[in-house]
């Protein structure tokens, strides 16, 4: 054991001396490694952030699972029991009952279609994050109050305190007080949804005490399909159907997954080029140091130890280069962020640093570089001290 330690110390020391004896070359491969790792970190994190921003804006502030009626009757029977069951599974973060129906409003003789959505504000807030979405007025809906979206408010040229006249399919007219304006991040929602008191909407639609859907959010948005399946089995109710965002957004998911694949390909190519570049430079180092290796062998160093020298060189270059690369990559990402999100810039990507990814990239780079050292070291096995001495 002590011998092994002494052996490691010696080969490590020789590796460091070899690297230091040619500072230009060492700096070059370390810097090359750093550039490769920084690109890997930058591209990987940027694409990761892009994906999570996209998912975030698409599904985070909306229900990921929706329960609605599967029969011709639009309302759900025994809905309070269903919500109880759903919440008892512990698979969901919120379950909000909704009574919704279509309606219109008229502005300058133009008919604007609306979706009248009756909710319990507290529960709907947990799905839509309404508290943050409301940018004017209050998140309060009394029996005659309503929240409208940014686009609708612009179209109606209405604001907090104004009135909104809603015409139902039955021809019945109701006037709401606009108590707040929201922006849920999607124009079609902002333009059509009128968020109102549950009881009021139930009465207007002639559905007293009944609801038309249950909106559910889950902790892991990508597990929405699994949760939906599990809820289906728990509820075992043929009168309801359970939808999830994934099956409704196949295109988006397809795009995300091909983006993920292209990111992986870029990273694999980078790792390969690192291995090839470093191992070829280290192979040159083996040639440059063949005289030293030859004499070390004449002095009785074993082949294994001679190989260790170059494996250590790969490891050391890998450690230094990848640490530098991680710093460079993160720096690049932060400067990209501050540059592209400055005043006037239209940056919609929210940076999320996945430290697991950073550590993984770093570890892969170190392993790749050590492997490169190993490949170079194989050449040192072939060095015969006699050839070195004969050549002088």
């Amino acid at each position: 054991m002590k011998h092994i330690l002494e052996n490691v110390l010696l080969t490590f020391k020789i590796a460091i001396r070899f690297l230091r004896s040619n500072p230009g070359q060492t700096a070059l491969i370390t810097f090359g490694m750093a550039i490769a790792v920084s690109i890997q970190i930058f591209v990987g994190l940027l694409i990761g952030s892009l994906q999570s921003s996209l998912v975030e804006s698409t599904v985070r502030n909306s229900p990921q699972v929706t329960i609605s009626s599967a029969t011709r009757v639009p309302s759900i029977f025994a809905w309070d029991k269903i919500i109880d069951t759903v919440q008892r599974t512990g698979l969901v973060t919120a379950a909000s009952p909704v009574t919704a129906g279509s309606a219109v409003t008229v502005k300058d003789q133009k008919t604007i279609p609306l979706v009248l959505k009756g909710v319990h504000v507290e529960e709907a807030d947990r799905i839509y994050n309404l508290r943050d979405a409301v940018y004017a007025g209050d998140l309060y809906v009394g029996s005659r109050d309503a929240l409208i979206g940014r686009e609708l408010a612009a179209e109606l040229q209405a604001g907090v305190g104004d009135k909104l006249t809603v015409v139902l399919p039955s021809g019945k007219e109701t006037i709401f007080n606009i108590t707040g304006l929201y922006d849920l991040g999607t124009a079609s929602v902002n333009k059509t949804w009128v968020i109102a008191n549950m009881r009021t909407v139930q009465q207007l639609l002639g559905l007293p005490g009944r609801i038309t859907s249950i909106e559910i959010s889950v902790p892991d948005v990508f597990a929405a399909d699994r949760v939906a399946g599990q809820l289906g089995r728990e509820l075992d109710n043929s009168e309801i159907k359970i939808d999830n965002w994934k099956e409704q957004n196949q295109e988006l998911l397809g795009a995300l997954s091909s983006q993920g694949i292209s990111s992986t390909i870029i990273q694999v190519v980078i790792v390969f080029s690192v291995v090839i570049a470093i191992s070829s430079v280290l192979a040159i180092t083996v040639l440059q140091k063949s005289r030293q290796i030859g004499i070390l062998k004449a002095m009785g160093i074993k082949d294994r130890s001679a190989s260790m020298i170059f494996i250590f060189e790969g490891l050391l270059v890998g450690l230094a280069g990848s640490l530098l690369g991680v710093g460079l990559g993160l720096g690049l990402l932060y400067s990209f962020d501050s540059f592209s999100s400055g005043p006037g810039a239209a940056n919609t990507i929210k940076l999320t640093i996945d430290y697991g990814f950073v550590v993984l990239s770093w570890a892969i780079a170190v392993a790749a570089s050590t492997l490169a050292g190993l490949l170079a070291a194989r050449r040192s096995l072939k060095l015969n001290p006699i050839d070195i001495i004969r050549e002088g």
Binding site: H3, I4, E6, N7, L10, I14, R17, F18, R20, S21, R291, Q292, G294, I295, L296, K297, A298, M299, G300, I301, K302, D303, R304, S305, P385, I386, I389, R390, G392
Partner: protein, 228 residues
């Protein structure tokens, strides 16, 4: 005195498009503590002979016995250990590691045996520098010394593990006559004080004549073996 090195019917053939036999049935032994030279023209096979004695090369047939044991069955690792422990090499060129100081170079054979260089070991290295008369430059980098100092450092390195056999291939080939004289006096001193066996290859008759025994090789065969 017992034989420290023994070659028994050693042939050496270099395989290639044309096989070249460079040694023919060499039977040769060296007594422990003796001071020997091998002479011969270039291409006579004397360097091959030295490489075989030093376990850097293996005979095509025949056997090498070192310290009373046959080396035929040793694998590469055991051979490396034997070389590290029992043999000291000096070549025409010093082959010091330029990345290390003279002191580190001298300690290298000891470190290669995976032992720690404690104070006692360092003291031994310093004594070798004193013996070589180059104590002044022991912490110089290997490439920041004169040719004579480099070769003396190489000799100190070869002696570091107290080898039983010291093999030298034209050790003063690159040195002026003054340095040459000094180095042979040093080697003689070491031989007398430590009882190390010396086998020196040279083409310089005057140097060979200062040794106790001269073995002459010609075309891969021993043609003369004379002792004083």
């Amino acid at each position: 005195m017992a034989n420290i090195v023994e070659l028994k019917k050693v042939d050496k053939v270099y395989r290639g498009t044309i096989d070249t036999q460079v040694l023919f049935g060499i039977n040769l032994s060296f007594e422990q503590g003796s001071f020997n030279s091998i002479v011969g023209e270039s291409g006579s096979g004397k360097s091959t002979l030295l490489n075989i004695i030093g376990t850097l090369d293996r005979p095509t047939s025949g056997e090498l016995w070192l310290e009373g044991r046959s080396t035929s069955s040793l694998n590469a690792d055991r051979m490396a250990e034997l070389r590290n422990r029992s043999i000291g090499f000096v070549f025409q060129f010093h082959y010091l590691l330029p990345e290390f100081s003279a002191m580190d170079n001298v300690l290298m054979p000891w470190l290669i045996s995976n032992r720690r260089a404690d104070a006692g070991v360092k003291k031994r290295a310093e004594e070798l520098f004193d013996l070589m008369g180059i104590a002044r430059v022991k912490y110089n980098m290997a490439n920041k010394m004169s040719g004579g100092q480099q070769q003396r450092t190489a000799i100190a390195r070869a002696l570091m593990n107290s080898p039983s056999v010291f093999l030298a291939d034209e050790p003063t080939g690159n040195l002026d006559s003054e340095n040459t004289g000094v180095i042979y006096r040093i080697l003689r001193d070491v031989n007398r004080q430590l009882g190390t066996t010396f086998i020196i290859i040279t083409h310089d008759r005057r140097i060979a004549e200062q040794t106790d025994r001269i073995v002459e090789i010609k075309d891969g065969r021993i043609v003369m073996d004379s002792s004083r």
